[in-house]
């Protein structure tokens, strides 16, 4: 230990510290009054058994309600629908509809267009056959 370190060590020890009885009592009382905190252990989240019973019963109740609703709807469908008796309707009561429509007549340009399309189709077919070597 060098001179400086020794001097510092000695000087620290020379600082006269006195702890009073009153402070001791205060300290003891403070420590008595507190409890050390318990660390939070990683624990599983356990739910009470009543929780599982409640959820199970809820599920069963929901299933029963669902079945009841389905059955109610099915019975409604089974009930025969009473259709009103049919009776012949006189033609006089049906109004005639004037469509004012005429059948389409092919004109020459459209005929030529069709022929051109057929010619293009034939050319394309021949080209494909040529490419694949037929």
């Amino acid at each position: 230990m060098d001179k400086l370190a020794k001097q510092l060590k000695d000087d620290a020890a020379r600082i006269d510290v006195h702890i009073s009885d009153e402070f001791d009592r205060r300290m003891a009382a403070s420590l008595e009054g507190i409890m050390p905190e318990v660390p939070d252990a990683p624990r599983l989240r356990q739910r009470p058994a009543a929780f599982w019973w409640a959820s199970s019963l809820t599920g069963v109740a929901a299933a029963l309600v669902f079945i009841a609703v389905i059955n109610t709807h099915s019975e409604g469908e089974v009930t025969p629908v009473v259709s009103p008796p049919t009776s012949p309707v006189s033609m006089a009561t049906i109004p005639t509809i004037d469509w004012k429509a005429e059948s389409a007549m092919l004109t020459r340009p459209l005929q030529r267009e069709l022929e051109d399309l057929q010619a293009d189709l034939k050319k394309a077919e021949e080209k494909v056959k040529k490419e694949i070597g037929l």
Binding site: L8, I34, E37
Partner: protein, 180 residues
Amino acid sequence: MTNELQLVDAAKAGSRKAFADLVESYRVRLLRFLLTRCASHADAEDALQDTFIAAYRYLHSYDPRWRFSTWLYRIAIRKVQKIRQENVVEIGDLSDEEGDPLLHCMAASETENLWVSARRILNDDVFAATWLRYAEDMSINDISKALDRSDSWTKVNLLRARKALGAEMNRETNGNEAYG
């Protein structure tokens, strides 16, 4: 050290007696340190009490890889910082020797105590590092942990503190010789 760890383990297990023994073994050392850092004796005692209460309350968080003293001093330093933030009066503001708890704990003939000079020359953290090194014999690593600083910071500042205090010690020695 082993005995200390046994006491810590017993205190962790709930033994108040074991913790009381730890308090007994550290209270004077801690109070001496706190007197150098607080503006009054009452503040130092409050800081000491708060330190032990916090240590007891959070004993479960103590990591045995640290020295117990390192952990305790770290708590104490934080408590002092808190008290000094709450108080308006700083050590530097104390004008009379009656109010300075450190001077109050020294005999009149010991006014040349080097720690008084150290407190005047060094800033708070460097003073604490110097105290932990030379008064408590702590390692560089423990000091760094206690102050929450890097090892290199501690080494550099301890070296600077040594230079400054060495010069101060020589100055006082020469002055005493000159006037003695």
